[in-house]
Every structure is written in C-alpha cells, then in structure tokens.
C-alpha cells in the first residue's frame, strides 16, 4: 500500500517533469525565434546584385526584427557592393566598400589582371585594399602608373590560375588595356606609417 508521503513524492516528481518539459518548450521556441543568426533577422538582397553596384533601399530588405530594419539597411545603402550577392543572400557590412570610396567607384569598371608574385604582393593583398598598378611594356623603359585602384576580389580564373579584379575609372579603360597587354605588371600598396596616419 502506498503511503500518502510516498504518493506525494511521485506527484512532486511528475510536477518536476512537467516543469522541465515546459521549460524545454520555451527554450526551444527562444532558440528558433530569437537566434541572432536567424535568417529572419538579417539584411538580404531583394534581387541578384552584381559586384560594384551602388546599393539603394530598393535592393535590400530586412528579414525579421522590423524595429532594427531602418538602421541596419541605412548602414549599407549608398555604398558600393564589393562582391556579387544572389537574391535572398545576406549582405553584411564587410561586403560593402567604405562610404569614402563612393566617389572613386561612382564611375568605375571592373578589370581582371593575372595573379603573380608581383601583383599579389606575395600573398598580402586583400579585397578592399587601395593599390597602384605600374605597367612596363616588354623591352620598354617607360613605366605607366594607374593610381588609387580598389581590389575587388582575388579569385580563381580557371583551374590553374588566379585573377585579381580591380576597379578602375571608366575614363582610363582604353589606356589600361593598351598598357597591360603584353606588359610586365607590378602592383604596389602604399605603406601608411604612424605619423602620416595621425596627420
């Protein structure tokens, strides 16, 4: 015969189980709806966005957390997209160029040059870097320099070679094509020293 005290212990255990299951339900709901990586709380592309596009409000939408949408989208608009993003793909701060480069990219076109030891700065080149490109025609002594170019990407052009994509002003397109064809290419990045930075 079960004593009332023992019955009470079983009852308490059953209540504890009920509480734990309910708590589990709440935690699961929290994990599924409030996860910061939740796809419904991120800025995504409304359509396929090519690299170098100047982002507008019409290009982006917020999934979830509508109270954050204005500030999150404003942070990204009016800036150039550094990489191509497909419809529904996430757009983050790291994927857009700094607002200061808006002028530079306003009338820019993307060009690719082959990657080599002299164009990759021995592997120290990164997307978003500002560089100068020096071209020297074969056998020539006169170098031509293209200044303030932005590195858009470093990606494989095919199975055996990588390519560096640069943004150059549209007005320099033809000069650039002539200079790089058959010429030797050297990429340089300006080294910013501490006292220059503070000026």
């Amino acid at each position: 015969m079960a004593t009332p005290e023992k019955n009470r212990s079983v009852k308490r255990a059953a209540i504890l189980l009920g509480v734990l299951v309910a708590l589990g339900g709440v935690l699961l709901w929290w994990l599924l709806t409030r996860d910061p990586t939740d796809p419904r709380s991120r800025v995504v592309a409304k359509r396929d966005l090519p690299a170098l596009r100047l982002l507008t409000n019409a290009d982006l939408e917020m999934r979830g957390s509508p109270e954050l949408s204005n500030s999150a989208i404003e942070e990204l608009t009016n800036r150039h997209l550094l990489v191509g993003v497909k419809q529904g793909g996430e757009v983050t701060r790291e994927m857009v160029a700094p607002s200061e480069s808006k002028q530079l990219l306003a009338d820019a076109i993307a060009v690719a040059i082959p990657m080599s030891a002299t164009t990759s700065l021995a592997g120290q080149l990164h997307a978003g870097d500002m560089v100068d490109l020096v071209t020297v025609p074969k056998g020539g002594t006169q170098a031509k320099t293209f200044e303030n170019l932005m590195v858009l990407s470093i990606a494989p052009a095919n199975k055996d070679a990588n390519a560096i994509t640069l943004a150059i002003p549209r007005t320099q397109r033809d000069d650039f094509a002539l200079a790089v064809t058959g010429g030797e290419l050297v990429l340089t990045r300006r080294i910013i020293v501490a006292n220059q930075q503070s000026k």
């Binding site: 079983v10 734990l20 589990g24 935690l27 470093i154 990606a155 494989p156």
Partner: protein
C-alpha cells in the same frame, strides 16, 4: 591486528556524481578560455578571413559547383547519421539508468524509474538548449563567418540546424554522463556483491562506446559542415588553401574537446568501479585478491584495454580519418 571498520561517510555519494562533475569542469574550462581568447564580436572582429575576402574568393567553375553539390550531399548524409546517433545515445542512457538503479520499494509505483529517466532526459535537454542559446550569440567567429558567407547565402537556416543538432548531441552526452553516475550509485555500500559489481562494470561499457561514437560522429558532422562551406572556394586558390587550414584547426580542436568529455564521463566511473572490485576481492580472498579477480574474469588485459583506449580517442581521430577517407575517395575516382 584488527582493522576497525569505520562507517562510510555521507560525502562518498558525491563521488557518484564524478562522471557528471568532471566533464562539467572540462566544459566550463573550455568556454572560459574560448570567451577570453577566441570570442569575436562585430565590434571586436578577430576572424582571420573576413566575409568579403571569403565571398570574393568563391568560385563558379564547374569543378567547384560539382564539389559543392557533393559536399552538400555528404553533409545531408552525415546529419542523418548524427541524428540517429544522438537518439541512440539518449535511449542507451535510459536503458543503462533503468538497469543500474535498484528496484523501487514496493510502496512506490513500478514506473517510478521511467519517471526519473524522463526527468534526466528533460533536464539534459533544457541545459543543452540553454547552452545553444548562449552559443548562438557567437555570430562573428571564423567558422560562423565562413558558413554565413558560403552555405548561408544558399541555405540561410544552416546555423539553426547546427544549433539544434549540437543541442541534441549535448543532450545525449549529458544523459550518458548521468547513466555513468547511475552505474556507481548504491543505496548501501555493504550490500554490494560480485554479481552486482559485474553488472555495473558491464553497464558502463555501452556508456563509453555510445558516447565515443556519438561524439566522433559529431566531429564528422562538423567536418562535413565546414567542408561544405570550404567547397565554395577553389582548393587551388590562396583563400581556398587558407580556409582548409582553418577548417582543419577547428575540427582538430573540437575533436580534442570531445575526447576530453568522453574521458571525463568514463574514466572516473571506471576507476571507482575498479576500486570497488579490488575491495571486494580483498574481502573475499584476503591472501590472494589477484587470484580471486582472475578466477572471476575481472582482470583487464591489454587486448581488453585497447578497444577502450581507441574509443576514448575516437572523437580526436574522427577528423583526420574523415580527411583521409575523402582523399582516398578522390584518389579512387580520379
């Protein structure tokens, strides 16, 4: 000379909880060090490869697209296996607890033990979900950045799947840790006999093998997930090579962490049961306890140790094994 028997201390029952306390300490230590030295946030970015760098290195070559499809298929397959392994771990833990605990007194209902098992699993699930919620704030780590900029662009809910899978994995491990505690539990130390002890030793074995297998599969799943992300980048590109190094490092460190968790669950329980067996042998045959152990098949030889050592190292070996298998598959298929 007679040895005066001292009554067992009430505190000895704390030792029954060692299979839960030791992995708990491993877990806390890992997270303290991770938070202090490895935690990245949007305001304190510490990932070696930024989202723009990874995304700019994604390749659209035919070979890469095929590799991405194969990696996605591998992830789907291993995720299914992982789900089954976690469920098997929870069921095994329930059965071990049921077998290890003494029958309730006649006044209690017979299903009291099942009620207790359900409480254990529910508490383990709650703790795992709490950990998953806490971990989900870590959105800027190198692994998260890699996943969000590659797989996340096509499958936005990938992180949610991973958090749920990790929570299930931890629920299984915690339930098995409680099962290891149950194999040590005794109402009265004086009641223990040879049959009871052998039963407890045998019950600890599935705890070791199932927890090691579950965590080894968790490492394989992690490797498949990050491998899927890495497949978006050409392995010949500079960024592709860097990502492979990053993935290898993450998989190796998680493998080590999981190995320590398995060891934390199994080793304290195994040592305590071993001590009890020796004590019983001494009481049964004080002049030749080793002979008594050998006659009852309770000695452990090297061939008996070896599978246990391999099981303990399983999660650590799973990462390199997965890499070796994928290389072998590539060599066979050309």
């Amino acid at each position: 000379m007679s040895i005066e028997e001292t009554p067992p201390s009430k505190w000895r029952r704390i030792t029954y909880l060692l299979p839960l306390i030791v992995p708990g300490l491993v877990f806390v230590t890992f997270f303290v060090f991770y938070s202090q030295f490895l935690f990245c946030s949007p305001n304190d970015p510490c990932t070696p490869l930024t989202a723009a760098e990874i995304l700019s290195g994604t390749s659209n070559l035919d070979q890469t697209r095929v590799a991405t499809y194969v990696a996605r298929a591998s992830w789907a397959l291993i995720s299914g296996v992982h789900l089954l392994a976690c469920l098997a771990a929870i069921v095994t833990a329930g059965l071990v607890i049921y077998q290890a605990l003494p029958e309730p007194e006649p006044e209690y209902p017979k299903n009291l033990k099942w009620l207790l098992i359900l409480i254990v699993v529910a508490a383990a699930a709650d703790i795992s979900l709490l950990v998953a919620i806490w971990v989900s704030t870590d959105v800027s780590s190198p692994a998260q950045t890699l996943l969000r900029t590659t797989v996340g662009q096509m499958v936005p809910s990938i992180n949610r799947y991973n958090r749920l899978a990790d929570a299930l994995s931890l629920t299984g491990t915690l339930s098995l840790a409680v099962a290891a505690c149950a194999t040590l539990w005794q109402r009265d130390a004086a009641e223990e006999n040879e049959t009871e002890l052998v039963k407890r030793v045998n019950l600890l074995r599935p705890v070791l093998y199932v927890s090691a297998a579950t965590l080894a599969i968790a490492v394989l799943k992690l490797s498949a997930t990050l491998g899927w992300a890495a497949s978006y980048l050409s392995p010949d590109s500079e960024i592709g090579k860097s990502v492979v190094i990053l993935v290898r490092g993450i998989v190796a460190s998680m493998g080590t962490f999981y190995t320590l968790l398995v060891a934390g669950v199994y080793v304290p329980a195994a040592l305590l049961l071993r001590a009890r067996i020796r004590k019983l042998a001494k009481s049964q045959k004080p002049d030749d306890p080793d002979g008594w152990l050998a006659s009852h098949g309770l000695t452990l030889s090297f061939p008996q140790y070896l599978p246990r050592v391999i099981a303990l190292l399983g999660p650590l070996l799973a990462g390199p094994l997965a890499e070796l298998l994928s290389k072998a598959a590539l060599a066979f298929t050309g």
